[in-house]
Symmetry: C2
Subunit: 221 residues, 2 copies
Amino acid sequence: MVAVTSRTRRAEALSRERIVEAAVALLDADGEGGLTFKALTERLATGPGAIYHHVANKGELLAVATDGVVVAALEAEAAGSPQDALRGIALRLFDAIDAHPWVAAQLSASSWQAGGPLILERVGRQVQALGVPERDWFTVTTVLMQYVLGAAAQNAANARVAAPGVGRAEFLGEVAETWKALDGYPFARAVADQMREHDDRAQFLAGIDLVLTGIVGRYTG
Amino acid sequence: MVAVTSRTRRAEALSRERIVEAAVALLDADGEGGLTFKALTERLATGPGAIYHHVANKGELLAVATDGVVVAALEAEAAGSPQDALRGIALRLFDAIDAHPWVAAQLSASSWQAGGPLILERVGRQVQALGVPERDWFTVTTVLMQYVLGAAAQNAANARVAAPGVGRAEFLGEVAETWKALDGYPFARAVADQMREHDDRAQFLAGIDLVLTGIVGRYTG
DNA sequence: TCCAATCTTGGAACGACGTTCCATCCATGT
DNA sequence: ACATGGATGGAACGTCGTTCCAAGATTGGA
């Protein structure tokens, strides 16, 4: 039952790892819609049957790929004060999702599977270090996770609307114009320009700090 | 060019509203995968061509349906202190998403369109009332939105794993067993039982309070 | 009143997708 | 040298969103 990998089968033997690697390349290149069995078979010069012999279905492929990205982003232990460590974890996740936007949807769709447990572990240890009482460990940790994954998913979705560079400014400009034209929405009109000029990363970090302030205020006040 | 609705065309004339209504019914009954042009044509006793004459594509259908749910949830103005009003807004959204889980994915995939502006407006006014300085209006409001939508999306995704009632307990039990079996994940093991027994709504409210505490601490400290 | 222009309808057809099936190939152990 | 069984890849299926078009219904003007 232990997998004995056959060698020199083809020029390069088909394996679960090679398939996942190709899937990640397709996802990074063309987004969530880029992962297709047609594209996968062409890139690997094989047929769908061979792929299904190594992978159960497309969902498993996505889950394994997601897990790989999360593990790569969080394998290093967090350092510094609990606050700094949490900022570091959040930023590493933010950057990983920025580089692989398809991870966000997958992660927030199954936050307790795929890469979820590793995120929970990394965040949870710092929550413990912050002095949160044991009965609130789960609640506080998942609140942090929900903010981090939710914000990253929404940023990734907005970023995915257009290609890099010019697309973003155009998109933000269009949304700003839409907001400014909304009757009965004075607040949306008031912040339309802030929205157009905002920095995703800074806004994300501000959110982390807000939640951290809340945690510290709640438990050491 | 103004739409003059034709009357007594059929037993019940096909219209954008009737189509959206049918789409919501399908989505509520069978989840995101339940909205199909085949199911839609059968329910409306027509063909795909007729539907495409009233709606641009499936995406527009989803956006309009989402907007309808959000508007219904937030049409009442928020009352009480800014904190209470924000708790009320968040809870109304939470309950709406609990009743229509498909709304969550749609909203967090396009948080600045569909129902997004209305949420921004309702949340933003209370952020103003909290005394947040103008230059941080956008940042603070979007942090709240990101948490609310992100947490709701993740809860909806977890709830969607199984049918109502028995499915949830089973699912939580399986995840808890998985966590307890993870070597090198002491924190996940420690909170596995808390996870199994947690209440989604209470956890969500705790998150809101944490963020609110952070905002108040940051700006009125 | 009738006709022509226009809007509306619904079925047929298309390409792309995920998945299943199966005949063939080939490395291995005897 | 041969049989075994895992690995392979192409063909085929059903479903999806979408497009196209011929027919039907409705309306305004002659």
